[in-house]
Amino acid sequence: MRHVMKKHSSPLLELRRPIPPAWYWGAGLGFIALFVLVWVLLTSLGLVSRIFLPPPLAVWNELLRQAQSGILWQDAGVSLYRIFVGWLISTLLAVPIGILMGNFQFFEGLFEPFIDLVRYMPAVAFVPLTILWLGVGDTQKFAILFIGTFFQEALLIMDNVKTVPRELIQVSSTFGLSKWEILRDVILRAAMPGIWDTFRITLGWAWTYLVVAELVAASVGLGYRIMRAQRFLETETIILGILIIGAMGLITDYLFKLTYKKLFRWAVQSR
């Protein structure tokens, strides 16, 4: 039977079968290379106008120009600062609220209807209101990033807390621990890896809200650079901005994954 099966299907496309790592990584890199190749062909053969899609080289030159003039570092620094502060405010509130919601039904009943209502409101729609209330400074940017991440983050942390197995809590109470000790020494410890992963995911969302936060009333920042370039039809600047936001998001994501493996070795299945 095995023999027959092997003859009729490709070894790379077996159902849920691992493939050689060279193929795995090669395929991923190859797809990106293919994407760039199509980009090169479209632009070098003159199939699309430069205004719609500049060649990769133009984007590269724009990168060098911005790096040399220092604009890039200034934009990246300011955006990183805004994202970090906005996300931190959101996290400092979402962690205690999510923990309360996950452990006490009262708090779940208290907060969930409100959070469910607000989390479907588009963050971009809050731009005029936040400017009205908070002015045009960084506080308004923090507020948009907060609105974009907090509500989802609180719900995710609630779920992280709820996935701690009931038996783990029960067995702890047979050791004579009070509910606060169980909350601190068992539930929080057990939920920590999940919460850390929620940090990674929500920080990623904060990156996607950057352009919204810097949409209006900004004079520096990666998102602002994109919005300004639109006005002057500097398409290569737009593409560069998008690529840099993507790359920086990827880096922060990777840092969280790396620290996860270091901090929570016990949570990584070894078998």
């Binding site: 067995v171 050791f175 004579g176 410890r189 070795r265």
Partner: protein, 266 residues
Amino acid sequence: MSLPKLHIQNVSKRFDLGGGEGLLAVQDVSLTVQPNEFVSLLGPSGCGKSTILMMAAGLEEISEGHIRVDGQDIEGPGLDRGVVFQSYTLFPWLTVAGNVRFALKKSHLSAAEQDDLVRRHLELVGLADFAAAYPNQLSGGMRQRVAIARALVYRPQILLMDEPFGALDAQTRMLMQELLLEVWQKDRTTVLFVTHDVDEAILLSDRIYVMTARPGRIKAEITVDLPRPRHWLETEGSLRFAELRREALRLLHEEVRQEGRSKNIR
């Protein structure tokens, strides 16, 4: 008769399913466990035997009746009762030694005394060499051995075990049963053990309560008069074991068959 260590008296359990009468899981169950006695609750799956154990542990509310330890009504979980669960309940962020030591949090012992107790109990279950390992590096049988050491380390008066070997493969289960016999032979803790495995109940117990299908009631009581110490090979081969086994199976089979009929399974 002396005062029983554990006395379950006319206990019923009704689960509220939101409206209606609710589900009667346990009906008017009475049983006793004498000091240093090993007693099993044997019953078909879903008969409420685990629910009884959880009520005795103080982890599940009692709808009617009393559960007493040394004549005192229990109030929630307590250090007088140790519990071993069917599912793996080790704390994955603590080492094997850390898990056992965790149970001593409320013990007021010095660090040296705690270390000594932890070491002794890991030796008892044969895991002294694995003190620094993490649960995700252990097999299922080893995890349950740590759980047993952890439930014994604070010296509870009663050990409550809820199908602790149910998730293990047949060979590991036999080894674990012998290990439990060996451990019990040494300190003779009072044990209430829940199982649906007839052979396991006979091998381990002094007495067995056989339960009916849901709602769970006590159907019969079997005294296991096999000599101790017991071992699988000798004990299982004896004529008396076969008789007890036949008796327990007959009682259990009636219940399983009735349940099957009520569900139209033939």
